[in-house]
């Protein structure tokens, strides 16, 4: 196969993958960073990195897990950066984290309902809930994506679901 055909074929695969998984990846990013714009940017970046692997001929047995893994790592970096943003300085400058959260939520009015409930869970519980019950992933896959043991993930799923049910029925 010549390079043009190969390129065309890969582009097709690339776009098909994007169509299939972009919303799920976006939701995952959203649950990770609670910010729509950022989640959109992250989604784009996840697929940019996916393309790098695709054109490098990387073997991917499970594209979906692969995409989630990229997203998860990007979110980790984001947290680190956010942390590095020196919370102390911002607090000194009269910044109140709760204000920011409120603004964020106002910005996310369209997702307010879903994010509002899930934001009450621990960050680590949010992601398992979404991956397990919204996206329907197996605990084993979730464990691989989040780089944890399947056992730990199962425990978290149960705990998170209980909490969520309590919140939803208050």
């Amino acid at each position: 196969m010549n390079r043009y055909m190969k390129q065309e074929q890969l582009e097709k695969e690339f776009m098909a993958t994007f169509d299939t998984y972009s919303d799920a990846i976006f939701r995952f990013c959203l649950v990770k960073v609670s910010n729509k714009e950022l989640a959109e940017d992250m989604t784009q970046e996840v697929f940019t990195r996916y393309w790098q692997s695709l054109r490098n001929g990387k073997e991917m047995t499970n594209v979906r897990s692969f995409l989630y893994t990229i997203a998860n790592n990007m979110a980790k970096d984001w947290y680190k950066r956010k942390k590095a943003d020196s919370l102390d300085d911002r607090l000194d400058a009269g910044f109140d984290p709760r204000d920011e959260k409120a603004t964020d939520q106002m910005q996310e009015a369209e997702y307010g309902e879903v994010l509002g409930v899930i934001d009450e869970l621990e960050p680590r519980d949010r992601e398992v809930v979404v991956l397990r019950f919204v996206e329907g992933l197996d605990p084993k896959d979730i464990a691989e994506i989040l780089d944890e043991t399947a056992n730990a993930v199962s425990v978290r799923i149960t705990r998170a679901l209980n909490k969520l049910q309590t919140k939803l029925n208050v």
Binding site: R3, K6, Q7, L10, E11, F14, M15, F18, S22, D23, F26, R27, L30, E40, T43, Q44, E45, F47, T48, R49, Y50, W51, Q52, S53, R55, N56, G57, K58, M60, F66, T69, I70, N72, N73, M74, K76, D77, K80, R81, A84, Y111, E113, V114, V117, V130, F133, V134, E144, D147, L161, L164, Q165, L168, N169
Partner: protein, 385 residues
């Protein structure tokens, strides 16, 4: 209503959360552009170390320009004046000088380069002395390094059977004299004249053997802390690299309209990789921390180099961080700017050590595909992922 019904409804609402149509189209267009810009052909070039090397040879001229640029701009530039103990000193000795060494093409040039390095170490000793901060340890290390450069020079001379030029002889003599002046009064540190190489009548090979023995003796005395194991203040390196990375993130944000979005995304990715490496460096110690921190510094340096190709940059001499970029005044280049930028971003990381990088025991940073860190100098994985 049952618990289950509530939660099911809730999850259904979640599934309705999607990218907006306009945003989706925008992203798709951008991705397709990216995929075409970084097409299959480029990937094919880097599928094996051999083809990478062939490609490297082919583009030697431009690689030369890029590396020259890297050593004369950004951090590398700021590092030029660094002294032992300074944060940027490892960049100077580890990165800049190794790049320069790579371009010493023949034996004469290599010997000359060794003499230049010896001279640099002597000048550093003198500068530290003038600053009043020359410690015993630093002096011992600089001495060991000067001797190492002598030894390497002597080895090259014997291996290639070349005549030593008077320039080289003079430089070594000067280096030793300068160094001895700096450590005045400390006999144990002064380099004895009979240890001089290349400027004595004695056969070079014999001198080399002598020095090798000398160096071994020093090593046993714990004084030979060669570059590869030279103590670096990891904490400071990490802190300064962090500052550089943070200011780079800010710069990318400030100049978001001046930088092409695709390039910006790549630079962002580099910074992410640097952040990741730095985050790991913080959790480790010694060699591992240093390797990771230098890898982060390397990535940050790449971003700095790219920025300095896009405009004229102001550099904070303390930290080496770029403080501003004037995009209206980009440097004049006789080569294609985009190509240079690509080469910088894809350049093989230069290891600070002469030895194989000591990354054993550092677990992979993430599972396949998520990795945003490039530690190994593996051309296959050296794409700007």
């Amino acid at each position: 209503m049952t618990d289950k019904k509530h939660t099911d409804e809730y999850f259904n609402t979640w599934r309705e959360v999607k990218l907006s149509e306009t945003r989706r189209e925008d992203i798709k267009t951008a991705l397709l552009e990216h995929a075409r810009f970084h097409g299959v052909q480029e990937a094919a070039q880097s599928t094996s170390a051999v083809s990478w090397f062939v490609g490297y040879r082919r583009t030697f001229a431009s690689a030369f320009a890029v590396l020259l640029l890297m050593v004369t701009t950004g951090t590398s530039y700021a590092a030029r004046g660094a002294l032992p103990g300074d944060t940027l000193y490892p960049v100077k000795t580890g990165f800049n000088e190794r790049v320069q060494a790579a371009f010493a093409v023949n034996a004469n040039a290599k010997v000359a380069f060794q003499s230049e390095l010896a001279e640099k170490r002597a000048v550093e000793a003198k500068a530290l002395k003038a600053r009043g901060t020359l410690t015993q340890e630093q002096a011992a290390r600089l001495k060991a390094e000067i001797k190492q450069h002598q030894m390497l020079a002597a080895n090259i001379v014997t291996t290639h059977d070349i005549e030593v030029t008077s320039d080289v002889k003079e430089r070594f003599t000067l280096a030793i004299n300068e160094f001895n002046t700096a450590v005045e009064g400390d006999v144990s540190l002064a380099i004895a004249t009979d240890e001089r190489v290349a400027n004595e009548a004695a056969p070079v090979a014999r001198t080399a053997t002598m020095m090798a023995a000398d160096t071994r003796a020093d090593a046993s005395a714990g004084a030979t802390t060669m570059l590869a194991t030279a103590p670096i203040n990891e904490e400071k390196l990490i802190a300064d690299t962090q500052t550089r990375i943070e200011s780079l993130y800010e710069l990318l944000d400030t100049y978001r309209n001046e930088i092409d979005p695709v390039l910006r995304a790549k630079l962002d990715t580099k910074l992410d990789a640097a952040t990741e490496a730095l985050g790991q460096a913080k959790q480790r110690q010694g060699d591992q921390a240093r390797t990771l921190a230098l890898s982060a510094a390397d990535d940050a340096g790449k971003v700095e180099s790219v920025l300095s190709l896009l405009g004229s940059v102001e550099i904070d001499r303390e930290t080496g961080a770029i403080t501003s970029v004037d995009f209206s005044n980009p440097p004049k280049l006789d080569q294609d700017r985009d190509m240079l930028i690509e080469s910088i971003l894809n350049a093989k990381p230069i290891q600070p050590n002469n030895d194989t990088p000591t990354v054993e025991g550092v677990p992979p940073t993430s599972v396949d595909g998520g990795g945003s860190i490039e530690l190994q100098a593996d051309p296959d994985t050296n794409m700007s992922i």
